[in-house]
């Protein structure tokens, strides 16, 4: 996040709100065709698709943000993002814009915002009279921030056993 030239972003909308993700985090976008549902997975996981030779998990952003899911229509898009080695598809209501946002136009999220959003919103950008929430892709994909789907009670237990009190090195 250095320099004043800013980064380019893909804008998409979910339930009437506009979100932005950095283009360097986006692999590609596609129309949604066949999603194979994944049994016994969390509600936010819509299933898997075969995209560019890979099996890619599909995350429903409405569900991820705690909203009602909506039926797919012609404007629904799959935004395949990358975080490290992972490729994950995000189902969004529509995705049509590509903009450059100066770093100066992005302010950190307010503490007064609801806890749900601040978990994965990196900042708030003002584009003319529009407000756009800039998403932190790594945090959206962070499974420890997702409700635990299946019955891995020991995982759960172990996770709670390890707060940051012990330094890793």
């Amino acid at each position: 996040m250095t320099g004043s030239s800013g980064r380019s972003y893909i804008l998409f909308s979910v339930a009437g709100t506009t979100y932005a993700v950095g283009t360097e985090d986006v692999r590609h976008m596609e129309m949604i065709e066949q999603i194979t549902p994944m049994p016994n997975a969390g509600e936010y996981l819509e299933g898997v698709v075969f995209s560019r030779g890979q099996i890619v998990p599909v995350l429903n952003l409405r569900a991820r943000f705690g909203l009602e899911k909506a039926a797919h229509d012609l404007r629904t898009r799959l935004v395949v993002v990358q975080s490290g080695e992972r490729w994950v598809g995000l189902v969004v209501d529509s995705a049509r814009e590509f903009v450059r946002i100066p770093d100066a136009a992005i302010q950190p999220p307010s503490h007064a915002m609801s806890a749900l959003s601040t978990n994965y919103v990196e900042g708030i950008a003002s584009l003319g009279d529009r407000l756009v929430l800039v998403l932190d892709v790594a945090r959206i994909l962070d499974t420890s921030m997702l409700p635990v789907p299946a019955a891995s009670s020991t995982d759960d237990l172990a996770r709670s056993a390890m707060p940051a009190t012990e330094t890793p090195r």
Binding site: I32, E33, Q34, T36, P37, M38, V88, L157, A158, T167
Partner: protein, 683 residues
């Protein structure tokens, strides 16, 4: 890095670099073994001299090949190591207790210099190590002059030496007798000094290896080798220019002409293949498998339009093609197999290094090094095994005095074993140390806020706890291990490879980690089944039998369903129930019989559509970790079909956990109903 290598179009040199790295690895391997053995040989002056000489020659070769490809830092470091070794070998310096330590450290640095070049990264600083070695080599000779002792092993070119050109033609018969380039190389280095090795392609396409060796003038010592595919001729009397003093200078570098004669052939073994190329070949085979499957489908569709005779011919063709593809696939997979020794043989060195630092006495026992595993697994498992071995030394094995006090041998033992079991490879890393202090781990975890049941914790929970990122029972992390990230990385890597880790520990008796990994399974035979509107693939190897069940024959007892099967009652588990796909009401359906004896169950689906070869893609993303669904495949229509681990599913069903988990049922149903409708198209 340097101008010569980066010139455009200089593919030849970059191809040669790959060989350089491979050859470095071989020399470093010799060095590692030599350094290990050197400790044991202290006091045995003949053994020591031989080792020092071998080390000297390895460093000398490393210097030479590094100079050839212009890896300056490696050349410089190897030069200092060589110089120090020369003085040690020639008894001008005594082998001090910390000499080996310095050699090990410098060798590790040399390794990282080479690794940095390979990764196109800037090399680590070498100056401190160079200075340390230089100051060691420049010490005055010990009080007792070296002249009184015998010269080292007579491998130096002396007055009675000659230069020989040895030719070795490898054949399968010789390989069967254990005579390979490597063994020839060691034979030759036993009688003299190998000045160069050059593979040559014979006009008929075979390979000959040519060794230029300075050795004894009298060929009687190798007369017996004629029957081993070796022949030789004398070139010239060895004098000045080829001798060692000059060879440090550029004269060691073969002229470019010589390099192009060597071509891209590997300096030893038969062929070296980039793993990526093998992957490419494998994915082409996978494509072919899918294309053939499509062909068969299309053929089935036109069956009625063709005269029976014509159709049968085509059908025969695709069946032949299927068989041939299967053979091709097996051959490609076999090419990818390497000995697990590629991981194991490094470990004694690693253990020794850590043990030296921790002031412990440890030996490493290797078992089943010949077990073959996929090269990819070797690459991925190197670090996890390394970590477990380090852990075993620094946390597992107790200091000698504690061991003796506990009535154990002072020297700790770490045992690495490998074996195959069905479609899995098992790797075990065991130590005979103190065992994991379960109470301490539990205490730490509780102190950190873990909700643990009272009383002792079971091995599974213990493993979960120590695999958490950040977990450590040490207050300050030591260099070798105790970096809390370690175990979590071990488990993550194994899980990504579709394997599992289990832990067994007993206070005072030691700790053992058992890692099981799938053998390479990129393509497998599967049965395609349908349940609800979903298709699933079930690996054929896990299915005992496929049966058709009359719904009327199903008996319900309490919460269980049973069907008659071979005079017995077989528990029936419905995939629709497991996956919350809604109830079915068909008069008859298909089921897979899984497991035997007490463990046997019938897994019911709606219908089994047929058998196919599938390309297995593991689902490693953390979002996709669902019990019983280790991977997925695509059958050529762009749609993902989930692969079922029926053994895990039946275990899950038997333990009753799936039925007793309303949360799972609910979210499962939600996930399935939310997706786009998936047609019940037949594969």
């Amino acid at each position: 890095m340097n101008g010569a290598l980066d010139q455009p179009g200089d593919d030849f040199v970059s191809g040669f670099l790959d060989d350089y790295f491979a050859e470095c690895e071989e020399h470093l391997e010799v060095v590692r073994r030599g350094l290990m053995a050197l400790e044991g040989a202290v006091g045995d002056s003949a053994g020591e001299a031989a080792l020092l000489d071998e080390l000297f020659r390895s460093y000398h070769s490393l210097k030479g090949i590094s100079a050839m490809v212009d890896v300056r830092e490696a050349e410089r470091l190897a030069h200092e190591l060589e110089g120090y070794l020369r003085r040690l070998r020639d008894r001008e310096l005594a082998l001090a207790p910390d000499s080996v330590a310095v050699l090990i450290d410098s060798t590790a640095l040399l390794e990282s210099v080479i690794a940095a070049r390979r990764a196109a990264l800037p090399p680590p600083p070498i100056q401190p190590a160079v200075e340390r070695l230089a100051s060691l080599s420049n010490q005055p000779p010990p009080a007792a002059p070296a002249n009184g002792t015998a010269p080292a092993q007579g491998t130096e070119p002396s007055a009675a030496s000659a230069t020989w050109r040895f030719s070795f033609v490898p054949t399968p018969a010789l390989v069967d007798r254990g005579i390979k380039v490597d063994s020839v190389r060691s034979r030759l280095s036993a009688v003299g000094r190998i000045m160069s090795v050059m593979p040559r392609v014979t006009p008929r396409g075979g390979i000959t290896f040519e060794f230029i060796v300075t050795g004894p003038a009298d060929p009687s010592s190798f007369e017996a080798w004629r029957q081993d595919g070796l022949s030789w001729e004398r070139i010239e009397a060895a004098a000045g220019p080829l001798a060692e003093h000059a060879s440090a200078e550029p004269s060691l570098r073969p002229a470019p002409v010589t390099l192009s004669e060597a071509g891209i052939l590997a300096p030893s073994h038969f062929v070296r293949v980039d793993l990526n190329r093998l992957d490419d070949v494998m994915s082409r085979v996978a494509d072919l498998v899918i294309t053939r499957a499509r062909l068969e489908e299309n053929l089935a569709r036109v069956e009625r339009m063709l005269p029976a005779q014509e159709w049968r011919l085509l059908q025969e063709n695709t069946l032949t093609m299927e068989r041939q593809l299967r053979h091709l696939r097996e051959d490609v997979m076999r090419v990818r197999l390497v000995r697990v020794d590629e991981i194991f043989r490094r470990m004694p060195f690693v253990a020794r290094d850590v043990a030296r630092e921790a002031r412990k006495d440890v030996r490493v026992v290797l078992k089943g090094q010949g077990t073959e595993i996929d090269k990819f697994l070797v690459e991925r498992m190197m670090d996890p095994v390394l970590h477990l071995v380090r852990n075993a030394v620094s946390h597992g094995i107790e200091p000698a005095e504690h061991r003796v006090a506990a009535g154990k041998p002072a020297q700790g033992t770490i045992t690495l074993s490998a074996s195959t079991s069905g479609e899995m490879v098992l790797l075990e890393i065991a130590d005979d140390g103190a065992g994991i202090d379960t109470a301490l781990v539990a205490e730490r975890a509780r102190a950190a806020g873990a909700r643990l049941p009272d009383g002792p914790i079971d091995p599974g929970t213990l493993l979960e706890l120590i695999c958490e990122p950040g977990f450590s029972t040490r207050d300050e992390a030591d260099r070798a291990s105790g970096r809390g990230m370690g175990m979590s990385v071990v488990r993550k890597t194994v899980q990504e490879l579709g394997g599992s880790v289990t832990l067994d520990t007993a206070a005072g008796r030691g700790t053992s980690f058992l890692i099981s990994l799938p053998l390479t399974l990129a393509i497998t035979d599967a049965l395609i089944a349908i349940a609800g509107s979903h298709r699933f693939a079930v690996p054929q190897s896990s299915v005992q039998e496929v049966i058709e069940v009359e719904d009327a024959a199903v008996r319900r007892m309490e919460n269980n369903e049973l069907i008659p099967y071979r005079g017995q009652a077989l528990p029936l588990v419905r995939l629709r129930t497991l996956f919350a796909l809604g109830a079915a009401s068909a008069p008859r359906f298909h089921a897979f019989v899984i497991g035997t004896g007490q463990d046997a169950v019938a897994l019911a689906v709606d219908r089994i559509l047929g058998q196919r070869e599938i390309v297995v893609r593991t689902m490693s993303d953390a979002l996709l970790k669902v019990d019983g669904i280790p991977g997925a495949t695509e059958l050529g229509d762009g749609r993902v079909v989930l692969i079922l681990d029926v053994a895990a599913l039946s275990r899950q069903a038997r333990s009753g956990s799936s039925g007793a988990r309303p949360a799972v049922q609910r979210t499962g149903a939600a996930a399935l109903s939310a997706g786009q409708p998936v047609g019940g198209g037949v594969a």
